[in-house]
């Protein structure tokens, strides 16, 4: 047999044998008195919303006194390649990270799996933590995982729909099939809207490339469109708006960046706030608070954002109270 191949195998086996013996021994490392906690932050992909969460986390930790030399933060971004998540989670475990923070569901799942019930894991920006199996219930997580959920304020969004287009009867909802959060929000909105008496029509895209055609079909069939918090739809927002503008159909999105891209108005939860709260929770847990009874925080308080240019284009007169609210607290795009 090839000598190089044999020696490679021999080296690997020898290494494993040594590692097996070494790591079998109990770990006797002691914590020093000037102990600096290590926190691992794992993000799924670079994306404006997720980056804001990351930014918020850092400042949330700072607010708890964890900044500069008082904390060691290891930030990893898998850039959507899920095979990296495992390696990165294990890197944290190997650094003996005291706590890990996951941004987006696959990242959080990977961390939770690696922690295996031991070290605390804080969630940031996970839409449905109980449905994803990360926590038992949001009130009593029951294990080593808790955090902040980014549940969309759907009822408030429906109120915005009613205020912007009071005469609308048919509501179209568009989401990406491969986005767990988008699907979850879309289906919940469907229930809410049906209760309020709307005829609801659901539309899905599997990639942003499908947007043009699906939007064309949708725009001819509905009075108003709801676009949930969904990465796919957010990316293809411009395409959606091009189509709906031709049919004069208003779009009510879930996030303020989507209003900027041509949505009419929304009440949006700040991603930064979500990250900030996660950072605060992480700080509390580092100080000794137990995760098992630390309820998952759901941020629902949002701020009004309106796009006046878009409203004018569609011939919509936005209620004065709404514009005023956006001017004082939220954001107005002109």
């Amino acid at each position: 047999m090839n000598k190089r191949l044999l020696s490679a195998i021999a080296i690997i086996i020898a290494f494993l044998a040594v590692a097996f013996i070494v790591t079998s021994k109990p770990n006797t490392q002691e914590k020093k008195s000037t102990y600096v906690p290590t926190v691992g932050i794992l993000q799924l992909v670079t994306h404006p919303a997720l980056d804001q969460i990351h930014h918020g986390i850092i400042e949330g930790l700072q607010s708890q006194g964890y900044s500069g030399k008082k904390i060691k933060i290891d930030y990893q971004n898998a850039q959507a390649d899920q095979s990296n998540l495992k390696t990165m989670s294990q890197k944290f475990a190997n650094e003996n990270a005291d706590l890990t923070i996951g941004i987006a569901t696959p990242a959080a799942l990977s961390l939770a799996k690696t922690a295996d019930g031991n070290n605390p894991v804080i969630l940031a920006g996970i839409t449905d933590p109980a449905g994803s199996g990360l926590v038992k219930t949001t009130q009593h997580p029951g294990n080593n995982v808790t955090g902040v959920s980014g549940d969309s304020p759907l009822q408030q969004h429906l109120d915005v729909v009613q205020q912007v287009v009071p005469k609308a009867k048919t509501l179209g909802i568009i989401y990406t099939t491969s986005d767990h959060g988008g699907e979850y929000n879309a289906k919940n909105m469907e229930k809410l809207a049906k209760k309020s008496g709307y005829t609801v029509k659901m539309y899905t895209i599997s990639t942003t490339n499908d947007m043009q055609q699906v939007a064309e079909t949708m725009a001819s069939q509905v009075d108003v469109v709801y676009a949930p918090q969904d990465n796919g739809v957010a990316s293809a927002m411009k395409t959606l708006i091009n189509v709906t503008n031709q049919e004069k159909v208003p779009v009510i999105p879930a996030v303020e960046t989507m209003v900027k891209d041509g949505g009419v108005a929304t009440i949006s939860v700040s991603q930064y706030d979500m990250g900030y709260q996660a950072g605060v929770m992480a700080g509390q847990v580092l100080k000794g608070k137990s995760t098992a009874n630390y309820p998952v925080k759901t941020i629902t308080k949002g701020e009004m954002t309106v796009n006046l240019k878009q409203a004018k284009l569609l011939g919509i007169n936005l209620p004065a109270s709404m514009v005023k609210e956006a001017e004082t607290k939220g954001e107005v795009f002109k």
Partner: protein, 299 residues
């Protein structure tokens, strides 16, 4: 040290993909894109079954069977439908996205607090990360031994002949279409099996987990070939496994050197490109002869 153990464990698990792709990429000589679909197909099948309370071993075997169906469809499109192989694979890969969504019912299913093939008792008593090493070694050893045995049989030889020269193979009475379909079924079955194992190691199945899989599988084949040079067919299969481990170690080194993780795709592409160029370079510079002269004693 335990990071290296973890990388070896991951390398052994991912080696299933390398060995499976070897059947189509190297023996049949064509790039099969189906794998980017059959990998998450296996993962979603197994994870969904486990989440419904079915035994993880049965679920993993079921993933293999579902994967062979994906391979069968690509094979039929290619041989009977006369669609170019690259396109057949892409068609099936695209279709599986919808199928996977149907199977899972959502984009992501977690396995936290569920049994998996990693929950066997013996594995629980091992030091950190040795569960993947042992289970990975066990799985890849069985698969490789099985393939080595298969390739020595009459059927296996006919399969190899089909890849080497389809015209000649046909002239001596080998039904090349059947051989191609069989190869695609076997390869995609193994890929789906690998998907099932890796999903259980990761703790979840995700609709997007197939993206970039073909690069990982190719990396283990190419690194194995470049590092170990001329090998017999059986040795090449073993080299793929070592190649898979080496690829994980390279990734680990890149992470350790403090490179931004934003660059990791670029870096792995460069590693692969260099690995693929190296043989030409060595040939062009005549290094082969020089090295041989240097290490062989005068006769």
């Amino acid at each position: 040290m335990s990071m290296i153990v973890s990388s070896i464990g991951q390398g052994l698990l991912w080696a299933v993909l390398g060995v499976a792709l070897f059947l189509t990429f190297r023996i049949l000589n064509f790039p099969d894109m189906t794998v980017e679909g059959s990998f998450p197909l296996g993962a979603s099948t197994a994870v969904t079954m486990i989440a419904h309370g079915i035994d993880p071993f049965i679920a993993t075997i079921a993933a293999f069977l579902v994967g062979t169906v994906a391979g069968l469809i690509t094979g039929l499109l290619y041989t009977k439908g006369k669609i170019p192989v690259l396109l057949s694979g892409i068609l099936v890969m695209t279709a599986t996205l919808s199928i996977n969504l149907r199977i899972m019912g959502s984009a992501n299913i977690s396995l936290l607090n569920q049994k998996s093939i990693f929950s066997i008792k013996i594995l629980q008593h091992l030091p950190k990360y040795f569960d993947s090493v042992f289970l990975g070694l066990f799985i890849i050893a069985i698969i490789t031994a099985g393939l080595i045995f298969f390739l020595q049989t009459e059927l296996g030889q006919a399969f190899i002949a089909t890849g080497d020269n389809p015209n000649m193979a046909q002239s001596i009475g080998i039904q090349t279409d059947r051989m191609t379909i069989m190869g695609l079924m076997l390869s995609n079955g193994l890929i789906a099996f690998g998907g099932a194992v890796i999903a259980q190691s990761n703790g979840y199945a995700d609709i997007n987990m197939g993206i970039g899989i073909i690069v990982i599988a190719l990396a283990s084949i190419i690194i194995g070939e470049v590092v170990f040079g001329e090998l017999t067919l059986n040795e090449r299969l073993v080299a793929v496994i070592i190649g898979s481990i080496l690829y994980r170690l390279v990734l680990l080194a890149v992470l350790r050197l403090g490179f931004s993780t934003n660059d990791i795709n670029l870096i792995s592409a460069i590693v692969l490109a260099v690995a693929m160029i190296l043989p030409q370079l060595r040939h062009a510079l005549n290094l082969d002869k020089i090295i041989k002269k240097g290490i062989t004693p005068h006769d």
